[in-house]
Amino acid sequence: MSKKRALVVGASSGIGREISRQLIQSGWTVAAVARRKDKLQTLADEFPGQLQPVVHDVQETDAIPEVFAKICHNLGGLDLVIYAAGVMPPVGPHEFDTEKDLEIVQTNLIGAIAWLNEAASRFDKTGHGTIVGIGSVAGDRGRSGQPVYNTSKAALATYLEALRNRLAKRGVKVTTIKPGPVQTEMTQHLGLKGAMTASEAARRTLILADRGGEHYLSAKHRFAFFIIKRIPSPIFRRLSV
């Protein structure tokens, strides 16, 4: 009956951009947040009047309350928030670079907390709205390859679970999506052939968005990670899964 409004953080490329596109195609108005202005503008030009580009670096947490309020104002309300911003810089097997690690935590976790706290606080008061966080299967185990990326996604999932438990009685849904490998800028250097496309990941995410709970994007992953999560650590470290 009424037009729906979404806020997508991390909308300039990959999964977040596809989510924004698909939302608009099904009649939503979207505020698209990311750092790269040119990318956002190109996206906005695809959908005149339906996408509001918002240039913002999620590491600037102090600015978030004001940017959030402005977005709600400009959209004329808010029904859905999707946090898709994330980084996964390459990390060498003997690299323990705290500065780089904190960057990952800043974007993947602290930024998520800062944005989703705003959303949660609003939805807690209005008793209306949906929150989606893009986690990762990478958060299911601590792997030798990406210690802090894994940590950030595990912590994100725990934070989202807590939000879900807080907001359930207000009728607000909180959904954690755990994609496996997806072909995007983030994974370009890995040369993932045959992995899910960003648009397919977005499509599946939007189907699951309103359900609440934690979701993998395919039955295969659900099954595989059911097993992987249960492999004892001494064995897990010898495997390359």
Partner: protein, 477 residues
């Protein structure tokens, strides 16, 4: 943007719980704080929406992302003169505040709605009518003076002779915040009414009853069974009521304790639970049955009989069942009320009901009243009748329901009828334009430019009816 604003956010709707909007609630306690809300809104680039008790049915007191100024905290009685019956109060006082304060001195609000919870500000912004509309007009006709705060922060006291007076009253919160009202109350000898109940068998009998009593009854109202067809179409239960006076009246009937509605229905059933039972019946079959049962009961038990009823029980029947609107959840309901000149009313209302029955979207409740015209800017009344109906909304059939309303509008407009913004959810801009006429809209724009040049006061109603929203674009006229 200050951090605290997020704490004010709330999801608001009209009484029908169909349309919602999130806004930021401000509850000023004084004129200074009212002025300050406009100041903050201007600073933050926000619109302001005025809200009383939220008893309008649709989108009249909501607007997405607006600063919502709720008047309810300003509810003090400033002076009361039990000799003259003149009461001066802050405009957030409700109809309930009013009658509780004055009844024991023998006075009653001159005009009340079917619920006692509206604020005086909200009631005047819509210019409410009662079951005595045909005798005493609307609430606005009993106001001695009122005070508003304009969006530019000016305080104005308006007398009935002031050109702004008929626009502020009926102007659905578009011309400033009504903050104080002085009202002439109605003298009573008894807290009871003498009530006659008659069960008309069809439309002809309905209108005959109204005509028979319109010169002498103090109140008239009739319930209409919208499921009845053919020769029984228009059947229902008519009530006329008279103030009690004379030697034998019981002065104790003026006590508040004698007026209060009981907590139990039929002495045993807690009324706070009734809506849950109603929810089970809130479908076509259940409501067809309920309407039928009410008709039978009326015919068997009360037909043609007089009884005594307290003013509160007679006036605020709908307050008997708390939260009855929740029976219509999850998608809520809309009210539809049209006002039709007396010579066309019977035909128009019977056609409206036929249309509903054809599309199987019957109103679950129909209420017929008698009206007289008034000269307020957005007047809804005519020398004729109104039929108010409640339609259950379902997402699946909303488009059909909206279409039904539009078809009913067409018949009303062709008969020279009018609509009431407090109840509306489905008027099209062109319907609105047609019943009000261009001169009314021009006057609206002229005054709006004068009082609210920046167009700060808005509501979802005004964005649904863009003819109301565009005074600035009409500058060249």
């Amino acid at each position: 943007m200050n951090r605290a604003i997020g704490d004010r956010v709330a999801r608001l709707s009209g009484y029908g719980q169909r349309t919602f909007a999130d806004g930021y609630i401000f509850r000023p306690g004084s004129v200074e704080e009212v002025i300050n809300v406009f100041h903050e809104a201007r600073r933050d680039g926000r619109n302001v929406t005025l809200r009383g008790a939220g008893r309008s049915y649709g989108d009249q007191a909501i607007y997405p992302e607006a600063y919502v100024l709720e008047i309810g905290r300003m509810n003090r009685i400033l002076s009361w003169d039990a000799q003259s019956g003149i009461i001066d109060c802050e405009a957030g006082a409700t109809i309930e505040t009013l009658w509780r304060h004055t009844i024991e001195d023998g006075w009653w609000p001159p005009v009340v709605s079917g619920t006692m919870y509206p604020t005086l500000a909200g009631a005047l912004a819509m210019n409410i009518h009662g079951k005595n509309n045909f005798r005493v007009g609307t609430l606005g006709e009993h106001v001695l003076d009122l005070e508003i705060v304009t969006p530019t922060g000016e305080k104005l006291t308006l007398l009935p002779t002031d050109p702004l007076f008929p626009a502020v009253i009926s102007g659905f919160g578009m011309f400033g915040v009504i903050v104080r009202v002085k009202l002439q109350m109605k003298k009573l000898e008894s807290g009871n009414l003498k009530v006659l109940a008659v069960s008309p068998a069809n439309w002809d009998e309905q209108f005959e009853l109204f005509e028979e009593h319109e010169t002498e009854a103090d109140y008239m109202v009739s319930w209409v069974d919208c499921f009845a067809k053919g020769t029984e179409a228009g059947r229902g239960q008519f009530h006329a009521a008279w103030y009690e006076n004379g030697e034998s009246i019981d002065r104790r009937s003026l006590w508040v304790s004698r007026q209060d509605l009981p907590d139990m229905i039929m002495g045993i059933f807690p009324k706070s639970l009734v809506w849950r039972v109603l929810k089970l019946l809130c479908n076509r079959t259940g409501m067809r049955l309920l309407n039928w049962a009410k008709d039978r009961a009326g015919r068997l038990l009360d037909n043609g009989k007089f009884h005594t009823q307290s003013l509160v029980a007679f006036s605020f029947l709908l307050d008997y069942v708390p939260n009855w609107r929740n029976a219509y959840l999850p998608d809520g309901f809309i009210q539809y009320q049209s006002f039709v000149p007396k010579e066309h009313a019977k035909r128009v209302f019977s056609e409206q009901i036929k249309l509903q029955q054809e599309s199987k979207l019957e109103s679950f409740l129909g209420v017929l009243k008698r009206h007289r015209p008034d000269s307020f800017l957005f007047s809804h009344a005519v020398d004729g009748y109104s039929l108010a109906m409640d339609f259950k909304v379902t997402k699946a059939r909303w488009d059909e329901l909206e279409l039904l309303c539009h078809r009913m509008n067409d018949i009303v407009l062709a008969a020279g009828g009018r609509f009431y913004l407090a109840k509306d959810s489905t008027l099209r801009p062109e319907d609105f334009q047609q019943y009000l006429g261009d001169s009314t809209l021009k006057e609206f724009w002229r005054l709006k430019r004068l009082i609210d040049p920046e167009n700060i006061l808005m509501s979802s109603l005004t964005s649904r009816l863009p003819v109301l929203r565009t005074p600035l674009e009409h500058h060249h006229e």
